[in-house]
Symmetry: C2
Amino acid sequence: MQERAKETRRSLLEAAAQLFAEHGYAATSVNNISARSGRTSGAVYFHYAGKEGIAVAVVRDRFADWSRLAARYADEAVPPVERLVALSYDIAHALSEEPVTRAGARLWAERATINAPLPDPFALWTAAATRLLAQARLAGQLNAHVRPAHTARALVRAFFGLCALTEALESTAVVIDRLTDWWQLTLPSLQPQHQPQPQPVREDPSTAQ
Amino acid sequence: MQERAKETRRSLLEAAAQLFAEHGYAATSVNNISARSGRTSGAVYFHYAGKEGIAVAVVRDRFADWSRLAARYADEAVPPVERLVALSYDIAHALSEEPVTRAGARLWAERATINAPLPDPFALWTAAATRLLAQARLAGQLNAHVRPAHTARALVRAFFGLCALTEALESTAVVIDRLTDWWQLTLPSLQPQHQPQPQPVREDPSTAQ
C-alpha cells in the first residue's frame, strides 16, 4: 500500500475510533467520520467499504490484536504468573485510556446492532493467559489443581467484566484499584503454596436448605 | 390497580421481554410488542408511555429486583458463604433461562441506545453479597484480609462478566460449568483456613521487567 493511502486509512480509523468510543456505533455516521478526520466520505467507502467495515477494522486493530503487548509477557526471566498480572494491568490501562481499544470494547458490547461479524477480541488474551499458566505449571509455580485452559478462560471473562462494569458503574479512574481488589481474591488460588485445596464448588441446591 | 389492568400490564411486559431478549431493543417496535401480546399499541403507550418505559419496567421487574431470591439467602442456619455461592447459581440460572431476566441483562448491555435511565441492576446483588460476607466475618468464617464491601463489588462484577461473556462466546448451556471453574478460583481466598495471605498485588511495572 502506498504511504499516502496508509496515512488516509490510519486517520480515518482513528477518527472513527474516537467517535465510536464517545458516541457508540449507532450515533456515528460516515459523515461524522469524514468531518472528524478531514477526509471525504468517499474515502471511508473506498478504504473500508463503509461504517461496518471501519468498525470491524477498529476492533481488529487493537482490541483483538495484542501483539504490541507481547514483549511484556515474552520475558522468561520474570515468573509467568507475574507476567500474567502485569499483562492484565496493561490491558486495563488500554481499556481505560486508549481510544482505539476503548472503541473496540464499546463496539463489541454493541455488536448486536452492527451488521458485520466482529473478530472475537478475547481469543488472543485467553491463548496468552493459557500459555503463561502452562509455563507456570512447568516451572512448579502453579497450584496443582489449576487447569491452564479452564482457568485462563474464567480469568479473562471475569477480568473483562470487572473492567467494563467498573467503568459503567463508577469511572475509568478506579479501574486499576478494582483490578487490585480482584487479583487479591484470585491470585491465592493460582499459587502452589495454597494447601489444602478446598472442595470444588458444585451446584447443589441442598447446600442452601 | 384493577385486576384487568394488571393482567394487561403483565402480558405486555412479558411479550416485550421475550422480544427484547431475542432481538434487542433497537429491533423491537411497539407494534411487535402489540402483536406478540395480542394487545393494542395504544395499551403500550397507556400503561408504559411507550418503548422506553416498558424497557425500564423490564429491567426493574426482575433484573434489578431479586427479592424473590431473598428466601434463599435469609436462612441463617446455612453458612453465609455457602448462601452467597447458592445465590450466584440462582442468578446464573435466571440469566441463562428466565426471559424477563435475560431481557433485563440485554437491555442493560444496550443501555447506550435507550433514551431513558435504567435502574442499576447490580446495586441489590452487591448489597446482598456485602451483607453475606459481613455475616461470614462475624461468624469467624471469612479470611481476615477480606473487606466485605470491596470484595462484594469485585465478585459481582467478575461474576456478571463471566456469565455474559460465556453466553456471548459459547452458549448458555455451559454457564454453570464456567461458574464452577470461577468459584474454584475465587472461593479459597474467602476462607479463613487460607494462610498465609500472599502479598497484595500492586500495580508495579517493575515486576515485569
